[in-house]
Symmetry: C2
Subunit: 344 residues, 2 copies
DNA sequence: GTTAATGTGGGAAGCGATTTCCCATCGGCA
DNA sequence: TGCCGATGGGAAATCGCTTCCCACATTAAC
């Protein structure tokens, strides 16, 4: 009573039935087994009376599977990840399961560690959010970890990274960036500066590629001197932009591969006395909800982040056990707002 | 091999020792027991060779305690919570533990559900973030849940809510809001409009009270017609502000009890053609990192959100088992920025 | 009126660790 | 040489729950 736990055995005893029966009742009749109504009632009521709460560890051990679902992000404070995380969390909780949050800090080794922990807990599934480095070196350990995870019956889904043979919710970065580029060209821009991401991240590269291909299609040669590599963070965007401006550029429009970097860029430009969009247009990607109130409002490519999280979770929690890894394509909608305008 | 798990038994067998010995080695010698160096080596190496990974459920069952630490927030997409969450997560992971994320959606019943799940998993501790309703009705079940949780040996810490008898990291909302009010008065403001939070949330009320008390101290009577109640969300702030302006106000400064609502307020004012700060000053509270790049930059009270998360986690993970619930006071620093200026 | 089919409850064997005893062995010391 | 206290290792009991399998009963089928 004071420090004790109520066990199934105690419930069974109180109800005057065997452990097996009590278990059956509380599990809503395992498979086709039936329990008479009267016993069922006795068990449930004494369980309630005793305040019985099953020991999840014991259940996991016996069932060899837990009610845990992993959610792996790089940085939960980053609004991109927190938006997706919100979707994942909602869905997982709706299914009566529990979210285990792991943050990688963008380190592949940490990611492997997290996956191992999930494996150790016999997690039911895991949703990997954000793009990973694609160079085989650092992916190797991760891939093996994932392989082990699914060998245990765990399901895996990715958001924004069709790297692994797993269900994936993938925004069409290439098309979105290309469409954005076309809109900017249409506005009259001819020379662009680019705030790229780390080159080994698929997401970053896809957005760059999409942007480039649209430029090429329009007969424009991107000026590679105006490409700065950032790290997807606000401060990275800020620093890269300062560097870019110090070096000097003739670009009339700056495309940052995500909104967070674009935010840093605008901050840097303001400090340097460069007015946006009058002197330099700025465009981003993602349409981060928290950043929608920036001034000037960001021209960007909208991604339904929260919904993507929900879809990934659904994918991984779906009863159906399909062979083919599913790929859900997400369309990004170009939003022309205040931060871009036709060049002077 | 193909679908199997490696158990401690297999490791022991491979090393030619008993289960007990293998367990002792892998746990770094339980209590004062020593294992000879040679055996120790044999065990660790065959564990590594076999790719042994302990079954966390089995460990939890045997030890009656898991490596899980709960993190409960209202809405992980809200930058306030994601900032604190980042701090908590960092610290928990540094300790080699695993974070279980629960989102309440601001519903007390969901919160109880989460706590029960944590109890069921024998979580080591839980960090509750964000203020809860203080009316006893909805707190009752939660309090009981918490009581049960700690009876099981679980530790509890709260961030920003010294409601329960638990370790708490609490910003000094009253003092911060008062200091902010004094600064605004010093700027020359005499009539204020207030975007309050839900009245039953301690955080919201403390900030209101602090603000009011500073006004009174300055001989100013707050005009209660200009108090709008919001819900801590951006859209709530937006809607309340529209309502406020429709009703008309003579205030020269609008104080929103958090940055998120202030953001909504600024958006509404812009739509209404009211210039900030020229026509109306706006101040917030929290200094949300993601919102620092707003234009105009927000006058606010800075709270070290991430650090608060870290502290709460430290509190709950500290080895020392102190009797008195600890209370860590966090000072909020007033930051006068662009969104407020002396009235015309 | 047997035999077979079905429906229900209980017994007991795991699940994979931890941990408590208990025993064997090895020195040390008288 | 003999006894005793350490010391290191193993057998086995748990932890709380699920589930296979058997027993008994009731009813259906012939």
């Amino acid at each position: 009573m004071s420090s004790g736990y109520v066990t199934l055995g105690q419930v069974a005893e109180a109800a005057g039935v065997s452990l097996a029966t009590a278990s059956r009742v509380l599990n809503g009749s395992t498979s086709t087994r039936q329990v008479s109504g009267e016993l069922r009632e006795r068990v449930t009521s004494s369980a309630r009376a005793l305040g019985y709460l099953p020991n999840a560890s014991a259940q996991s051990l016996a069932r060899n599977s837990s009610s845990l679902v992993g959610l792996v992000v790089h940085d939960i404070a980053d609004p991109y990840f927190s938006s997706v995380a919100a979707g994942v969390t909602q869905t997982v909780e709706e299914h009566g399961l529990v979210v285990v949050l792991g943050t990688t800090d963008r380190s592949p080794s940490k990611e492997s560690t997290i996956l191992a922990a999930l494996r150790s807990h016999r997690a039911k599934a895991v949703v990997l959010v954000g793009s990973r480095s694609t160079d085989s070196k650092s992916t190797e350990a991760l891939t093996r970890e994932i392989e082990l995870f699914r060998r245990q019956g765990g399901r895996v889904a990715c958001v924004s990274q069709p790297v692994l043979p797993a269900d994936t919710v993938s925004p069409d970065n290439h098309a979105g960036a290309a469409e954005l580029a076309r809109s900017l060209i249409e506005q009259g821009h001819r020379k662009f500066a680019l705030l790229a991401g780390p080159n080994n991240l698929s997401t970053a590269r896809e957005r760059m590629d999409g942007f480039h291909s649209a430029l090429s299609a329009a007969g424009l040669e991107p000026d590679y001197q105006d490409v700065m590599h950032g790290d997807f963070t606000r401060d990275g965007g800020y620093a890269s932009t300062r560097r870019l401006m110090m070096l000097g550029t003739e670009a009339t429009c700056l495309f940052a591969v995500n909104d967070v970097m674009a935010t840093g860029a605008i901050a840097a430009l303001r400090e340097l006395g460069v007015r946006v969009p009058e002197q330099l247009s700025v465009a981003g990607f993602d349409d981060i909800p928290t950043l929608r109130d920036l001034t000037p409002s960001l021209t960007t490519v909208r991604l339904p982040l929260e919904q993507m999280g929900r879809q990934a979770a659904e994918l991984v929690l779906a009863r159906e056990e399909r062979e083919e890894p599913r790929l859900i394509d997400v369309h990004g909608e170009v939003l022309i707002r205040e931060s871009t305008r036709p060049p002077a």
